[in-house]
Amino acid sequence: MPGARQDSSPGVCARVREWLPEYDYGGPGWWRRRQAARHLAQCPGCARELTALRRATALVEALPREVAPEGLWDRLEGALALERARPARSHSPRRRMPALAAAATAAVLAAGLGLRAAWQPEEPAVAVESYVQSHLALSRSRPLSPGAGYDAMVLLTAGTSAR
């Protein structure tokens, strides 16, 4: 079949491999995704490459979750108490720079760098509606069990390495 021969050519493999890193994230556009899907179904080399890409981020997901140091609430409470004692807004006592100056500096820098308003301190310009919509997706995030699945991941990695 001419179509099949064309799909297996090195040029096609090279092109598909450019698209593979984004493939699972919904990139790189529906047409390329469709082409990639067809190609993956018949090209073991590219399918192996996709597996290797997935494995790399699966290893990240298997990293143990960080645990905040003890006493963080006590520190925060101290800062909050200070805050309440001083009606004027300021940052925590550990900071040297007043909040307004910091905000102004950040705003100027943000403007200079062409950054979006989302990066202004304290008042993230969140698309509230999109958050509400994505809320359900967020709440279904993976369980944050420390080290969970890491053994399996090690075995997977060690035992099924690409040949």
């Binding site: 919904g26 979750r65 905040a68 993230p124």
Partner: protein, 188 residues
């Protein structure tokens, strides 16, 4: 977010300290984890995390969608990290976040693993942690949010104020980087 969290957020918005503490307890580890991945230094991460919750406390009464608390909190955390990157010297740190701060160390030990597996696992963990650290900040940010914090592309885009395509592209490039950095571990 569990339904009860929205109620907790509403209570905290009205000044209920216990409610705010509950939110803190629920989110401190993930927020700290995010910040730690971004700045590497433990003490700095703790400082910035404290600051994130302080900012959240101040701004909470103005949060119009209590159901969106988690994303909103992460947006504050992302802002705080960016502020730090812009002017690290203003953060009054006792520790300098140097290039080699030992942050590639094993973070948490699993209970009672077999001896030979410990070596493999710890070595691999270090390699994975190091590979994450090597990522460019914009790529590391989306990797941590998506692969460690479980946020979807759309939520991350909303949080960072960028297009979804940008998030996908950064995730893809990060994944390619990770694959390259970890090649030795995956292909012997």
């Amino acid at each position: 977010m569990p339904e009860s969290e929205e109620a907790t957020v509403r209570l905290a918005q009205r000044g209920d300290r216990e409610a705010f503490r509950e939110l803190f307890e629920r989110h401190r580890d993930p927020v700290y984890g995010y910040v730690r991945q971004m700045v590497r230094d433990e003490d700095l991460a703790a400082d910035l995390t404290q600051d994130v919750f302080l900012r959240a406390y101040r701004s909470l009464p103005r949060l119009k969608a209590p159901g969106a608390f988690r994303g909103w909190l992460y947006a504050i955390a992302a802002n705080r990290v960016r502020d730090h990157w812009r002017s690290p010297r203003l953060d009054a740190l006792s520790l300098d976040a140097s290039a080699d701060d030992g942050s590639g160390d094993v973070m948490v030990a699993d209970p009672a693993p077999g001896p030979e597996r410990v070596a493999v696992r710890e070595g691999l963990r270090e390699a994975v942690a190091a590979a994450v650290e090597k990522l460019a900040p914009e790529r590391r940010e989306v990797v941590v949010l998506h692969h460690l914090q479980g946020m979807d592309v759309r939520a991350i885009a909303g949080m960072l104020g960028v297009a979804e395509g940008t998030v996908k592209s950064r995730l893809g490039r990060a994944r390619a980087d990770m694959r390259r950095h970890l090649m030795g571990w995956m292909e012997e």
